[in-house]
Amino acid sequence: MHIKEIDLRNFKSFGKRVKISFFDDFTTISGPNGSGKSNIIDAILFVLGLSSSKMMRAERLTDLIYNVNGKNPDHAEVTINFDNADREFPLDQDVVKVKRRIQRTEAGYYSNYYLNDRPCSLSELRTYLSKSKIFPEGYNVVVQGDITKTISMSPIERRKVIDEIA
């Protein structure tokens, strides 16, 4: 199983729809300061429910919707297409699609997850993801500035990472 494509719509600085293809090997993302590299990582955390808004550098979830001088759409959406040929994701399909959409409303916002276009809850999604070894603590994702996190975490927290694997 691997990430085949990420589809960003109005997510943070991605005001125009962008689809990025990935392969099952080693890809780098590069570009000037402030160009949107870390926003792509935040999109992965967002759609898989791997993090709080603070980790995505937003005060509220609605801060994740593209917002620039007057252009102010009312929703943002991120979709990841996984290549599931090896059936590591416990569904019998070649491609598994995980989507999350956030919609701004008068009173606040809605945030919904979808698995193959069918609405699902975060806890249902997490059950599927941990079967394919994608854990909510996301030790397989290191956000910018956080590389020494495993050194500064407490010994108990560090031991818990091994518990999860076991």
């Binding site: 392969f23 090997d25 780098t28 994608i134 495993t150 560090r158 694997i165 076991a166």
Partner: protein, 150 residues
């Protein structure tokens, strides 16, 4: 429960020793605070980069801490790979030769898993299979400028 934990711990520790040596020329080891009952204690890391005497983890330098943290993550990856790994500028503290070493180790690890790595440094970009360029246009809109194949 304890048996499964110990089985996983010993396997990961073996990978950690190997990975730490590859990344920093020194010796490292994972240590359980309570071997009798692992769940009653935590897990500390003994790190002696390039043959230095053992110090508190805190006293390690920025670069040494990065290498130690990476050895831990990649030891787990060797034992039980996740489908993908996403790293954002993990090489920012590293000097030239350590940045090259890390890039080689990730290139090697990418045989058993997908690695997506944000980086500004040449060693990482040159080791990757491809690089996705990102740029900011007017109106504050990010876009992908295309892909460079290595």
């Amino acid at each position: 429960k304890k048996d499964t934990f110990m089985e996983n711990f010993l396997a990961i520790n073996a990978h950690f020793k190997d990975m730490f040596t590859r990344l920093s020329d020194g010796e490292g080891e994972l240590i359980l605070e309570n071997w009798e009952d692992p769940f009653a204690g935590g897990l500390t890391i003994k790190a002696e980069p390039s043959g230095k005497a053992i110090h508190h983890m805190e006293a390690l330098s920025g670069g040494e801490k990065s290498l130690t943290a990476l050895a831990f993550i990649l030891a787990i990856q060797k034992h039980r790979p996740s489908p993908f790994y996403v790293f954002d500028e993990i090489d920012m503290y590293l000097d030239g030769s350590n940045a090259e070493r890390v890039a080689k180790v990730i290139k090697d690890a990418s045989k058993d898993g997908q690695f997506i790595v944000v980086s500004l440094r040449k060693p990482m970009i040159e080791s990757a299979d491809r690089t996705i360029g990102v740029t900011m246009q007017e109106d504050n809109v990010s876009s992908v400028t295309g892909v460079m194949l290595n």
